[in-house]
């Protein structure tokens, strides 16, 4: 990969900010719900054990 590719014909800031922002939002939205599901399952088990 050369510097020309990253320069994006002078539009590097706009192009890479768009891609970066999209990547951050998509990755966070993929991980968040999975963690929530795990913690929900754990909580249900704990509550069942307390009864």
């Amino acid at each position: 990969m050369d510097t020309e590719f990253f320069a994006m014909g002078g539009y590097a800031f706009y192009v890479w900010t768009s891609y970066g922002l999209s990547a951050v939002v998509l990755i966070a939205n993929a991980i968040g719900p999975r963690m929530r599901e795990k913690s929900l399952l754990k909580k249900i088990v704990q509550r069942t054990g307390d009864e």
Partner: protein, 249 residues
């Protein structure tokens, strides 16, 4: 219509197992499409003759914008299923869709303004397309706020579904705004009656990325709906057994 069958598939317990089996495959297909779409968009597609390399923002902007509308229709449709036919799973899918839709609307606005700055000379303009998309974001945020504000989940679901259904009037406005009004936003290049005015080498990565985004939403909404089910049905025997089984492994 065979309602007994619908109710079987719409039962949260059935949906939970089904989604556990399906979601990983959707996720894998989505990842492959992302790799292909990004390679096509960033390397294979030639620079635009007017917009140069900046047009590559299209591959993250247009799929987000399409998803912002598509997810809204899913949310309103699922909400209607809960409101009119009392399908509980509909309420759960609507609730699970809203945050994802809001994030895609945010991305459509943010990447759009990052594209607008070098092409139009401004990050924001109050034209019909941008304004109606901003209203769409507020509809999503309103729905989410309503879910948080109303304690009783049935009441929250009902109020949310009504808000979502009323808000659907905004969907054709967003879609046709570039044709109905003179907007700074460019007109459609893909969804036209005649052939798309975009070269095939640029169009294919766009379609692949759009499909990747659609599968992404399907995967995420399955996981989010499972969370809704766990919260809704946390006192049922099957959820307790399931939770015990999963955590024991």
């Amino acid at each position: 219509m065979d309602f007994s069958r619908l109710h079987k598939y719409a039962s949260p317990m059935h949906f939970y197992s089904w989604s556990l089996a399906v979601a990983p495959w959707l996720g894998i297909a989505c990842a492959v499409l992302f790799v292909v779409g990004l390679a096509g968009g960033l390397f294979y597609a030639p620079p635009d003759y007017q917009q140069g390399e900046s047009f590559r923002i299209i591959y993250v902007h247009v799929p987000s914008a399409w998803m912002s509308l598509f997810i809204y229709m899913v949310m309103a449709g699922a909400g209607a299923l809960g409101l009119i036919w009392h399908v509980k799973l509909g309420d759960m899918i609507a609730r699970a869709s809203a945050p994802v839709g809001a994030w895609f609307t945010f991305l459509a606005l943010a990447t759009g303004s990052l594209w607008g700055k070098p092409m139009w000379g401004t990050y924001w303009v109050w034209d019909a397309r941008l304004t109606s998309e901003l209203i769409l974001l507020f509809l999503y945020l309103g729905y989410i706020a309503l879910q948080g504000a109303i304690e009783d989940r049935r009441t929250a679901a009902r109020a949310g579904a009504i808000l979502a259904l009323v808000g659907t009037v905004n969907i054709p406005i967003v879609h046709y705004s570039v044709e109905w009004w003179n907007t700074l936003h460019q007109g459609p290049t893909v969804t036209k009656f005649d052939a798309p005015s975009i070269d095939t080498s640029m169009l294919i990565p766009l379609l692949v990325m759009s499909l990747a985004y659609t599968l992404y939403f399907c995967t995420i909404v399955l996981v989010r709906t499972r969370c809704e089910i766990l919260e809704f049905e946390r006192n049922t025997t099957w959820v307790k057994q399931r939770a015990a089984g999963v955590n024991a492994v």
